[in-house]
Amino acid sequence: MRMALTAASCMNTDTIVMDDFLVRAVLAGVGVAAVTGPLGSFVVWRRMSFFGDALAHSALLGVALGLLLGIDLTVGVLAVAVIAAILLLGIERRTGLAMDTILGILSHGTLAIGLVAVAFLERVRFDLLGFLFGDILAVTAADIAWIYGGGAVALALIAYFWRPLLSATVHADLARAEGVPVDRVNLVFLLCLALVVATAMKVVGILLVAAMLIIPAATARPYSRTPERMAVFAVVISWLSVAGGLGLSFAADTPGGPSIISFGLLLFALTTGLMALRQRHSDG
């Protein structure tokens, strides 16, 4: 009787613990997806997927910096991402190199330097894989505060600058001629992107942040007639991916971040396939 009771209470606390981290994981995923939807749409419209990737890769350097200086890692990542974004803009203007070449260099260059830098921090307990691929089941309350705080700031900025941001995306010169402060708007966008990279990293990891931005937005595109609808659809699709990915992760003990992205890819493949079939049907 006593033993049974202990077992029961044991099970009870067990489910509570399980629920707790699952709730945190769901909260984190939902929070990140709410921001990656609209931001990712802009990344797709501006053909900046490689740029997002480069920013994300620089994040490892931010982690190393954070550990080295003993500051909050998210702050370190954010700082490096902002500097990288501004550098990238400057380099594009000043060198004759094609943007994709510059991004290729910086994206993998910063990742390499980041890996070297963290190797010097051997004494620090450090989960490299967790940073590279995310560890959504291990997010803390502080992480969630970052995700929702940073996400709210990014969403508010994007909403406030929505029309000028769209206008600058469609044609920078036309926007400028119509009085849009294009450089300032672009800077705001980059800051938001850096913020999203720094917070989304905890959920899907440095290597998969760009996928979280692009795949849901690309999935939403064929079903959208307006930019607003595409941004909203991208959020919904991201939420579905988070739900599916977390479900898979929980049931089959697969890594959280990659599961979310895999589920997103599955949705993309299904909807694209469906679209192609329908097209063929209407053509035939």
Binding site: R47, T169, V170, D173, L174, A177, E178, A218, R221, M230
Partner: protein, 259 residues
């Protein structure tokens, strides 16, 4: 109070403008001005710096020398060259026009009627024809109730009949609204009848004046002799067999005077 002087003041005025990209001189020593109700056409071969000059006139780039000045409070409607919207961005004509910002109520209905695009207002921008797209761009420029229209090759990707129609529309808009027009064009023969002043550039200012004077100017003939002869041949083939390509510049009427 300074209404009188205002009226005489050009909407945009460039004097001695030079623009460089690094060490390369894109345009140099250009004088140009557009007043109310005036249509100024900028012509020149590819790479002559026409778009550069337009951007300097709009204040989008700073000249490395000379002055580019716009009248205080002048509203400018701009139609850029080769504006292609990424297929990844879903956008209807209505939303594209909305990007122009806040405009007066009723302005859109008027502009839609003027440019004749009311029919396609809810179509995706990717599904409309080249001519409809150019009209949409023109509509966006007009939504700002501009004092000056700046049109960078407004008739690109438009078939020949559509081109003539578009230039006629631009002339009508000028007549109705009394705004100034600064436009870039490759085809002087098409815009001649609706142009007051032609500025011909090839990095430097070659010649300027009425369409008539410019078409007689030796530097214009030297620059365009061959290429114009080609386009005119095409033009005459399609529209006017009566006038062959003879290089003659003595005809005094119509748009084929510099044939």
């Amino acid at each position: 109070m300074d209404q009188v002087t205002r009226a005489g003041e050009p909407i945009v005025e460039l004097s001695g403008v030079e623009v460089r990209a690094g060490n390369r001189v894109l345009v140099t020593g250009i004088d140009l001005s557009v007043s109310d109700g005036e249509v100024v056409t900028l012509i020149g071969p590819n790479g002559a710096g026409k778009t550069t000059l337009i951007r300097a006139a709009l204040g989008l780039i700073q000249p490395s020398a000379g002055i580019s000045r716009r009248r205080d409070g002048a509203r400018i409607g701009y139609m850029p060259q080769r504006l292609n919207i990424d297929r990844n961005m879903p956008l209807t004509v209505r939303r594209f026009l909305g990007l122009a910002g806040a405009f007066e109520p009723g302005a859109r209905a008027r502009v839609l009627e003027e440019t004749g695009i009311a029919r396609i207002i809810d179509s995706p921008v990717h599904d409309i024809s080249g001519g409809e797209w150019q009209r949409t761009l023109l509509a966006r420029a007009l939504l700002r109730e501009p004092d000056l229209l700046v049109l960078d090759e407004p008739a690109q990707a438009v078939d020949l009949t559509g081109q003539a129609e578009l230039y006629r529309l631009i002339g009508e808009i000028r007549d109705r609204r009394g705004c100034g027009v600064l436009m870039v064009s490759h085809d002087l023969h098409l815009v001649m009848s609706s142009t007051d002043h032609v500025v011909c550039i090839n990095t430097h200012l070659c010649c300027a004046g009425t369409p008539d004077t410019v078409s007689r100017d030796p530097s214009y003939v030297a620059m365009f002799g061959e290429s114009v002869a080609e386009t005119m041949a095409l033009y005459h083939h399609n529209h006017d067999h009566a006038h062959g390509v003879d290089g003659s510049i003595v005809h005094e009427h119509g748009h084929d005077r510099h044939g």
